[in-house]
């Protein structure tokens, strides 16, 4: 499992966490949409990134639910189940990170703003793999904000 779920310093910060709408992220989905709006290729890459962020969020939630239900501790073969869930979450995370990197690379090629990516991975000498929690935070916040937007829009209609 990702270490941030058990790190006491991280838990303390999360307890102080405010509204998901106000949490700091390098760029919003709306701002990214503006960057991509006039280019079908960029728009497709952004849609792909959003879809992968959602899949990653689903995998994280599925893992959390299974761990909390206690199924993994009680049932036989629990270690295999835990490994499977961890592998699914990791694959979803990898695919999502790749989609962010591909989008940033293509935005750069088209002369669009990519300062947000430098904020996500501030030290070019460090591997992107070392920024996994940063990518995770960015993707989950994007997914949760989008979900809230959809719920609000459904409730209005």
């Amino acid at each position: 499992m990702e270490k941030f779920f058990t790190d006491p310093a991280a838990i303390e910060e999360l307890e102080k966490m405010g509204d998901v709408e106000t949490l700091a992220i390098p760029i919003t989905l709306e701002a990214l949409r503006k960057e991509c709006t006039e280019n079908a290729g960029l728009k497709a890459l952004l849609d792909d990134m959003q879809e992968r962020a959602f899949r990653y969020a689903k995998a994280v939630i599925e893992t959390q639910l299974s761990l909390r239900r206690g199924d993994l501790e009680r049932e036989s073969g629990s270690r295999d189940d835990l490994r499977t869930l961890d592998a699914v979450q990791r694959r979803a995370h990898d695919a999502y990170i790749d989609s962010v990197k591909i989008l940033a690379r293509n935005l750069d090629k088209h002369g669009k703003d990519t300062k947000w990516f430098d904020e996500l991975c501030p030290d070019p000498n460090r591997s992107h793999d070392q920024y996994r929690p940063y990518f995770a935070r960015f993707g989950l916040i994007i997914a949760y904000r989008e979900v809230l937007r959809e719920i609000k829009s459904t409730n209005r209609s």
């Binding site: 990702e2 941030f4 779920f5 790190d7 310093a9 991280a10 910060e13 999360l14 307890e15 966490m17 405010g18 509204d19 998901v20 709408e21 949490l23 700091a24 959602f54 969020a57 689903k58 994280v60 939630i61 599925e62 959390q64 639910l65 909390r68 239900r69 929690p133 940063y134 995770a136 935070r137 989950l140 916040i141 997914a143 949760y144 979900v147 809230l148 959809e150 719920i151 609000k152 459904t154 409730n155």
Partner: protein
Amino acid sequence: MDQEEKNQLALRYAKLALRSDKTPQEASEMRDLEVKLQMSPQEIINLVARLTIPSSN
């Protein structure tokens, strides 16, 4: 309802919310969960965020 039960229901709510092809039954289950938790969608998603989002440190 204890906090752990609330956490599980909130995660269940988010799992449904993240589905792009929700059935009417699933949408109805989401509304039932809002009532059971006595929380708004915003409050539920904020709880899920606290349970799942990694620290920025």
